[in-house]
């Protein structure tokens, strides 16, 4: 019998080590795995590299990890939010590294990594500071920059419904980065609002098939 459900947050986060690359889902606060991130704060791992669209808001979730000095580097498209005090303070103090990536390139680089591809040529950023140092290639008269794939050691996700196989369904705009991050990590950990029986999520409406999921905890 397959059962990916784990009893609590501690079990969900077991084995995450210092220096890990964490894919943290969410667009702003929506779809973000706040309880898992709070759990990571309690575990106390350090030197993390976090891939996320933003860099945390207020003092919860990712912002709390940054505030505690546990994050070495953030890879994101837009670090500022309505309340960016944790990231701003670490950035001004030179305590955190920022790699800025155009928003669609973050998800596409993860998608490429998930798909086993060696990267892709993209028109985004050609002739700008964010393409400095990247290979430029002309294809059929148009210039592109080469983007490498990336994968995470761990993906932390938030789903609305999950079953014991790890099939997931999200709710409205909370889907955002969750499906692509689910596919792009060695260990994919999900906090779900609701655990349902196998088959209760209509097979036509499974957003993330369980093959990509390792652990589910109900929060």
């Amino acid at each position: 019998m397959i059962n990916k459900q784990v009893p609590d947050i501690a079990a969900a986060l077991d084995g995450i080590r210092d220096g890990a690359t964490i894919l943290s889902a969410g667009f702003g606060a929506v779809g973000a795995p706040d309880e898992l991130l709070d759990g990571l704060l309690a575990v106390g791992v350090r030197d993390l590299v976090v891939v996320s669209n933003n860099a945390g808001s207020g003092m919860r979730g990712l912002a709390a990890l940054i505030n505690a000095g546990m994050v070495r580097k953030v890879i994101c498209s837009f670090p500022r939010t309505d309340d960016p005090r944790a990231f701003d303070a670490a950035y001004k103090a030179g305590k955190i590294e920022l790699e800025l990536v155009p928003q669609g390139i973050i998800s596409e680089r993860m998608r490429a990594g998930a798909a086993g591809l060696g990267g892709f040529y993209s028109p985004v950023g050609v002739g700008t500071k964010l393409a400095e140092g990247k290979e430029v290639r002309e294809i059929d008269g148009k210039r592109y920059v080469f983007e490498k794939p990336f994968r995470g050691d761990v993906a932390l996700l938030r789903a609305h419904r999950a079953d014991r196989w790890g099939n997931l369904a999200y709710r409205k705009s909370a889907r955002n980065f969750n499906p692509v991050m689910a596919m792009a990590a060695e260990l994919t950990v999900v906090q779900a609002k609701q655990m349902v029986e196998l088959g209760d999520i209509d097979p036509e409406c499974v957003h993330t098939p369980g093959i990509f999921v390792d652990r589910v905890v109900v929060v």
Binding site: F27, G28, A29, V30, G31, N53, S77, F78, P79, R80, T81, D82, F87, D88, Y91, L98, L100, V101, P102, Q103, G104, I105, S107, E108, M110, R111, S122, P123, V124, G125, V126, G127, T128, K129, L130, R171, K172, S173, A174, R175, N176, F177, N178, P179, V180, H207
Partner: protein
């Protein structure tokens, strides 16, 4: 001479959106464009966090914390709308599936280069969001900006001083003083606000302008 107000600029940009277009509106002033779509046109608004068919702000009892727009404000979905994940949202953008992207701008150059992501202010960490993807991907990129800075310096330049978002991407510029197209022959002025001469407009613009033969007054509706 009365420059257009910000709602009037948004109104003017809305008049050019055609029935059936899929449109992404940038954060800030461009978001207001959706308030001014002429009646009878069905427009599908795209939001890069994974929505097509984005509607207006929710009413008091409609708010759903899982339903936000790219500016992270609460929004709604109209009948026929859909949700999808982030990589698909940007596939739509980069793959040329959107008819129009309207963005704000710090500066635009005479060849349509766009600078709208950073002023390199050392007090703030930079952020790019989806601006670079939208600038290269949508079928048309139009920008909304004040014609000059607060101290009167031109923002339509021969060459952008701020770091570029993308090269040669802007096709139409809406300011509080004029509507200007970026053409192979240079910047072509289509409309100018009442009681401002072409020569006066040129004085407020660094890049050389041409006046279209069929130019007309820039109307300012709604009147506020």
């Amino acid at each position: 001479m009365t420059p257009l107000s910000r709602p009037q600029m948004a109104w003017r940009a809305a008049q050019d959106i055609e029935n059936g277009w899929y449109v992404n509106l940038g954060i800030g002033l461009p978001t207001q464009v959706s308030d001014h779509i002429p009646s009878g046109r069905e427009i599908v608004f795209h939001s890069e966090n994974g929505l097509l068919g984005m509607g207006p702000k929710p009413g008091p009892n409609e708010a759903d914390p899982d339903l936000i727009n790219a500016g992270k404000g609460l929004t709604t979905l109209i009948t026929g709308g859909s949700f999808f994940h982030h990589a698909d949202a940007f596939l739509m953008i980069r793959g040329g599936h959107l008819d129009l992207s309207i963005m704000g701008a710090f500066e635009v150059s005479e060849r349509g280069d766009l600078a709208n992501w950073t002023t390199e202010d050392p007090n703030f960490p930079p952020g790019v969001g989806g601006a670079m993807d939208l600038a290269v991907g949508a079928k048309r990129v139009r920008v909304l900006l004040e014609h000059t800075t607060k101290d009167g310096s031109p923002r339509i330049k021969v060459k952008c001083a701020y770091p570029l978002t993308a090269e040669r991407c802007v096709s139409r510029i809406y300011t509080n003083l004029a509507v200007i197209d970026v053409t192979p022959e240079g910047l072509m002025v289509r409309e100018i606000v009442d009681a401002l001469s072409f020569e006066e407009l040129q004085q407020k613009t660094e890049a050389p302008l041409k006046l279209a033969n069929d130019w007309c007054p820039l109307l300012a509706k709604p009147a506020h």
